[in-house]
């Protein structure tokens, strides 16, 4: 479609502009809505948005080009994206995608000739416990099989709007299999805020310190320290942000917390806001979870009615705080707190230089706290029940409990809450893992643990985790799994710094080379060196952790790749003779010089 086919573009965008005003930090939200209207971002829309916001056209195009869910080229009226997370792959998604494309006479990545449909793959959609999964126009499809795909194909051919599809296709279960204090105990809305107001902010901060609560997003920074640093940072305004950009493949605990414990999370944000002196908070919801948006908006509305959000919260004069939801658009890097802030400001999700840290220079350069969903839920519990109560659970340096998202080769995938210090043996028993061979703890950026290490425990001292726990049984091709991870990182690198942008691509090429049977001992050395460069030279955590699965495999799972290696010191990265095939066909040549040994 050409731009001139949108003569009404300004009128079509007018309600979007009306909603968001002229602030440039709404750019990403405006683009998301434009994508919904036109099924892609037409060139004319970019011009129109740039003029409306008073920013250069390149800035708008730069943002539109950065996020995977925004498209500068037309995609189908129906856009089906199959999750290519490793668990979805194990559950058969590649075959299902081929089946679906074949059925609808379509090639992956291309738009059907009538512009009706396009099919492609996307990074983990957070439905690992009920895969294989996909998204249709942003809505999650779970438990896919041939039968369901047949039905979906019918619905699309009949041009039925996605909102009228049978609800069972979109059913997302919580699958809470084991709950502890965080998920299991009742919580009265407002209890944490009341307790905070009763004992004062300073005293509540002391409770946070006594609790020893550390961030649940992976890095494990002390919450009390983060909050107190932000509290004393000078600034016109302070902000608190809930990081619900749960992009680490294999993690889906925040999905459940936001679906069934939104009150607890909001309460944690409100307590945090009281302590750091924020009047505004953001919940940055990953694009894959936009199906939760309506429910979350309702939860916020209820809290406003109950006097738990808004002006003079619980009658406390001057205690004003409200939460706004921002949607992401498919970018793993936005889970990094400074990239998330950039994205909140309507920019490309590029990590900032640190220091200065967000606690002093965050959203709009103001002091900002960014906390994980689970951290904020814990904070609400601590504010209500006290720090010592919390510190009594877990280990010396890891107090409290941890929610794990368990998936992969186990009988009972789902959400498990354990006190810190639980061993892998115990977890594997509980989830019904049959003959487990390896576990990926904390997703591709985490640690690949071999069966010899199943005595190790989940804690900041031993195996820190953001929540992902992916089980692989004996017989799984670990090289293929690692290949999936390196492809993921190569796709998600933001491209800002060379060690990560180039390193993730080289890593992908070399692992592919080994998987294709062209690998040698030389390539293993290359991978090690490359890993070292990425770990030491990259700009942010993505590049630092992207080599982890490769290095873990090289160290702990020699069986996974050794049989694939050739004996030679060097092998070309591709099939030399095969690369001449095209030209042989074109020229009709088959002489000796038209072949390579």
């Amino acid at each position: 479609m050409e731009p001139h086919e949108f003569p009404q573009i300004e009128q079509q965008l007018a309600p979007v502009f009306e909603r968001h005003g002229r602030e440039a930090h709404w750019l990403l939200q405006i683009l998301r809505e434009a994508q919904e209207i036109f099924h892609f971002i037409p060139s004319a829309a970019i011009t129109c948005i740039a003029a409306h916001l008073g920013v250069p056209r390149t800035r708008v195009e730069g943002v539109a080009g950065f996020y995977s869910f925004l498209s500068l080229k037309p995609v189908g009226e129906y856009r089906v994206l199959f999750s290519d997370n490793v668990t979805d792959q194990m559950q058969g998604n590649p075959e299902l995608m081929r089946y679906f494309c074949h059925k609808l006479w379509l090639e992956p990545g291309k738009v059907s000739e009538d512009n009706l449909l396009s099919v492609d793959s996307t990074s983990c959609t957070g439905m690992c416990d009920q895969g294989p999964a996909a998204l249709v126009n942003g809505w999650p499809l779970t438990n896919l099989d041939h039968e369901r795909l047949d039905l979906i194909a019918e619905l699309i051919r009949g041009r039925k709007p996605v909102c009228d599809w049978p609800p069972m296709l979109f059913e997302v279960k919580d699958n809470i299999r084991r709950s502890g204090t965080l998920l299991g105990e009742p919580f009265a809305s407002g209890a944490a805020i009341r307790a905070t107001l009763a004992r004062s902010s300073a005293a509540t901060l002391l409770e946070m310190e006594a609790s020893g609560l550390r961030g649940r997003g992976g890095a494990g920074f002390s919450v009390a320290r983060k909050w107190s640093m932000c509290r004393v940072s000078p600034g016109e305004k302070h902000y608190i942000v809930c990081n619900a950009d749960e992009g680490e493949p294999g993690t889906f605990k925040d999905r459940v917390l936001l679906n069934s414990y939104a009150d607890l999370v909001c309460e944690g944000m409100t307590v945090g806001a009281r302590i750091i002196g924020a009047t505004k908070g953001f919940l940055y919801l990953r694009g894959e979870y936009c199906y939760l948006l309506h429910k979350l908006e309702q939860a916020l509305a209820q809290r406003r009615v109950a006097g738990l959000l808004g002006r003079n919260i619980l009658g406390e004069t001057g205690f004003d705080f409200d939460i706004e939801i921002h949607l992401g658009a498919g970018a793993y890097i936005c889970g990094e707190e400074s990239a998330l802030i950039e994205s909140l400001e309507g920019k490309r999700g590029r990590p900032r230089n640190r220091p200065p840290f967000p606690v002093t220079h965050g959203y709009l350069d103001q002091p900002t706290v960014v906390d994980n969903v689970e951290t904020l839920a814990c904070a609400a519990r601590i504010a209500a029940q006290g720090g010592e109560w919390f510190a009594a659970m877990g280990t010396a340096q890891s107090s409290g409990s941890k929610i794990l998202s368990i998936a992969g080769d186990c009988a009972r995938p789902g959400i498990y809450e354990y006190p810190f210090g639980v061993t892998l043996h115990e977890i594997l028993d509980d989830c019904g893992a049959e003959d487990p061979y390896a576990v990926q703890v904390s997703g591709p950026s985490g640690i690949l643990v071999s069966s010899k290490e199943f005595g190790r425990c989940i804690s900041f001292e031993d195996l820190p985790t953001a929540g992902a726990f992916t089980v692989f049984k004996r017989g799984r091709d670990l090289l293929q799994i690692v290949q999936n991870f390196v492809h993921f990182f190569a796709h998600e690198s933001c491209g800002f710094c060379t060690p990560c942008r180039v390193g993730t691509q080289l890593q992908k090429k070399i692992v592919d080379k080994i998987a294709n049977g062209h690998g040698t001992a030389y390539d293993l050395e290359e991978l090690k060196q490359l890993g070292h460069i990425m770990q030491t030279m990259s700009h942010c955590g993505l590049g630092h952790t992207a080599p982890n699965p490769v290095l873990d495999m090289l160290k702990k799972f020699p069986d996974a790749y050794q049989h694939k290696l050739k004996d030679l010191a060097f092998e070309p990265a591709f099939d030399l003779d095969g690369a001449l095939e095209t030209a042989r066909n074109i020229t009709g040549r088959d002489d000796a010089w038209a072949h390579l040994p």
Partner: protein, 181 residues
């Protein structure tokens, strides 16, 4: 006379523009110093057609066709140290711009639409090197010991690199030599 054996040096250009070779010549009067230290084997300077046993082999250009592979493998077999010089050898460079164009489209554009001296036909003489589907960097075909970046690398950089190598030092290039802005 028991004169010290001279280092043997070979160079070639695959899918390149000879710009890196020009840059090597750009060391000007130091060419005489270089000739005092090395003997050239196969190189466009000597017009020797086949490479014999050498100490250093310098390869310019990416790998675009079957003949490039034969030359490259000959270099790898005969040279103790193989150096990929310039952007094309390292990444494919300018010739690799064709990688985004279907090979059949390339052939049609060149030989069929406008027609050549022989009329509208695609040449199929076995003496013509057969092109690959894409242009590949040198390191994907043989093991490369050193990479000299630049388009082209400056004469100073080539000189510093060669003298380090010839005198038995690990080549070390200053940051200033690797800056291109």
């Amino acid at each position: 006379m028991n004169e010290k054996r001279k280092i043997r040096l070979a160079t070639c250009s695959l899918a390149g523009c000879f710009g890196c070779h020009m840059s090597l010549l750009d060391i000007d009067e130091k060419l005489f110093d270089l000739l005092g230290m090395v003997e050239f084997d196969r190189t466009p300077f000597t017009d020797i057609k086949r490479c014999g046993p050498c100490d250093i082999g310098i390869v310019e250009g990416g790998v675009s066709n079957a003949e490039n592979v034969h030359v490259l493998k000959e270099f790898r077999k005969n040279c103790k140290v193989l150096v990929a010089i310039g952007a094309c050898a390292i990444t494919g460079g300018v010739p690799a711009l064709r990688n985004n164009i279907d090979l059949w489209d390339c052939f049609q554009e060149v030989y069929l639409y406008e027609g050549g001296l022989e009329g509208n036909q695609i040449p199929n003489d076995p003496e013509l090197p057969l092109p690959f589907d894409k242009v590949y960097p040198v390191y994907e075909v043989v093991k490369v010991d050193y990479f000299l970046p630049g388009c082209p690398p400056s004469a100073d950089m080539i000189w510093k690199f060669l003298t380090d190598l010839i005198e038995g030092r690990e080549p070390k290039l200053d940051y200033e030599m690797l800056r291109y802005d």
